[in-house]
């Protein structure tokens, strides 16, 4: 059903695929970082608390665009040093990897706060019950805390994912060929900026709607066995 768009229809569709790939990869990285951040922030050890707090404050205080630019252009020496250590001096980040890391980093910083809120929302008694039953710390975390935390955190994470999806447009600035970059290339040829950016806008809207539907099912699944709280 894609209109021809001066021959750029297929290119834009490929861009949408790239956007989805980028968003999902950044999501995976961000969830891990967010979980680690939340565990650090809620741990009883001061240095860990400080580390988690610094991470989330520092990353949330600087624009996403700056992170994208900084990670793409600023990690040269770091990557070279790493590369030499592993015996591959040509190690470097491509636009995709830099985008995943920058967006994952930002997602993780916000997810840290969401996960932390969720962990704190679990009644203390549950953990104590686990201890009383003689469960190990790891077991308490994976069997008691994680499943409940997941359910509480899901709506917040869903919101963050919508934001992440839109932030993928920033990676066009470092040349990754996602929706926005393809729209720009289309404008170069057609001189129809309004048409192309409008098409791009509706593609993002479509992706957002898809994500919303996905979230709805995830939330329903995570909430099975729980009665909807009524006022």
């Amino acid at each position: 059903m894609m209109i021809d768009l001066y021959g750029f229809g297929p290119a834009l569709a490929a861009g949408a695929l790239m956007t989805v790939k980028l968003a999902l990869s950044a999501l995976c990285l961000g969830l891990v970082l967010g979980l680690l951040g939340a565990l650090a922030k809620t741990s009883p050890y001061k240095p860990l608390q400080w580390l988690g707090g610094t991470y989330s404050t520092l990353v949330r205080g600087v624009p996403e665009l700056l992170w994208v630019l900084l990670i793409y252009f600023g990690t040269v020496n770091l990557m070279r040093a790493l590369g030499e250590y592993f015996g591959n001096p040509d190690l470097s980040l491509n636009a995709f990897a830099a985008g995943v890391i920058a967006l994952g980093l930002c997602f993780g910083a916000y997810a840290t706060e969401v996960f932390r809120g969720a962990i704190l929302a679990i009644p203390k008694g549950h953990r104590e019950a686990g201890v009383a039953l003689g469960l190990s710390k790891w077991r308490i975390f994976t069997r008691l805390i994680m499943p409940q935390m997941w359910r509480i955190a899901l709506p917040g994470l869903g919101n963050l994912f919508m934001i992440l999806m839109k932030d993928t447009a920033l990676v066009s600035v470092i040349g990754l060929e996602e929706i926005m970059r393809h729209a720009q290339i289309g404008v170069t040829v057609s001189k129809q900026p309004f048409t192309f950016y409008m098409v791009a806008a509706f593609m993002y809207l479509g992706l957002t709607v898809l994500a919303m539907i996905g979230m709805h099912f995830l939330e329903r699944r995570a909430a099975r066995g729980f009665a909807r709280s009524t006022q």
Partner: protein
């Protein structure tokens, strides 16, 4: 718990893959691909243009496989130094400032900087009195942008300099009347003036920079590749390959 394990595995995998190194089997040439006719993309996404053709001809002479890596203009020199590609053939002017960051081959064409403005602008001139107070567009991180900045900083002009991420965006703003004129490479603008959009515009005044030498950039100290590129460049000029490419784009020699 299966779901969590799967999810963690997937996350770990994504970490590993996203950081995977790029093998350096073939040479990678860096091109901006937003600067017609020297470099741009056709509708199917292939990089085309004068720079690309010269690059391919050089690679053929050096008997190496070459692939194209695109980068935005702003970060194209950092990207070369970051080893995103091995040499940079993207209409890059040889300047003192840039020589501190990268090494250049011999020039593969030379360029002039000239203003373009609407044909209706009849009183155009390149002197201080006229340019002060005018809004002039240029691409960020180009010789033209630096020239305009330098006039403001060194000669106390009062030009409103607007810098664009791509040359194409500068044209869009010239069309919409947001800028009074654009300063850029003459041959690039020559191509645009020929297009339907450029019909209402023309070159104004004499070129402000006459001998802008365009070279291929390699990382500092990469003399092996630089020597090879220089030799290949000499060959394609001598055997007529260069002229063939030149004639494909311009009815006059730009070497």
């Amino acid at each position: 718990m299966q779901t969590y394990k799967k999810f963690l595995l997937a996350a770990a995998a994504s970490l590993v893959f996203s950081a995977s190194a790029m093998a350096a089997e073939t040479l990678k040439m860096g091109i901006e691909a937003a600067y017609p006719p020297f470099n741009n993309k056709d509708a199917s996404g292939n990089v085309v243009g004068f720079d690309k053709d010269i690059g391919d001809a050089l690679c053929a002479k050096m008997k190496v496989e070459c692939s194209v890596v695109t980068s935005d203009w702003d970060g194209i020199i950092p990207a070369l130094n970051a080893k995103k590609f091995d040499f940079l053939i993207s209409s890059l002017s040889i300047t003192e400032e840039r020589k501190q960051a990268v090494d250049f081959t011999e020039p593969y064409y030379s360029n002039k900087l000239q203003f373009i403005a609407p044909k209706a602008t009849t009183d155009f001139s390149t002197d201080k009195a006229y340019l002060s107070g005018k809004t002039i567009g240029a691409q960020r991180a180009t010789l033209a942008g630096t020239w305009l900045d330098d006039r403001n900083m060194e000669d106390d002009y009062n030009i409103k300099v607007t810098l664009y991420d791509t040359q194409e965006n500068a044209y869009l703003d010239l069309l919409s009347g947001r800028v009074d004129a654009i300063l850029a490479d003459k041959y690039v603008q020559y191509e645009w003036l020929k297009s339907k959009d450029g019909a209402a515009f023309e070159f104004k005044g004499d070129p402000v920079v006459e001998s802008d030498k365009i070279g291929i950039a390699v990382r500092k100290g990469d003399d092996e590749l630089r020597t090879k590129l220089n030799a290949a460049l000499k060959e394609i000029v001598a055997d007529g390959t260069y002229k063939k490419i030149n004639d494909k784009y311009f009815p006059f020699s730009i070497y």
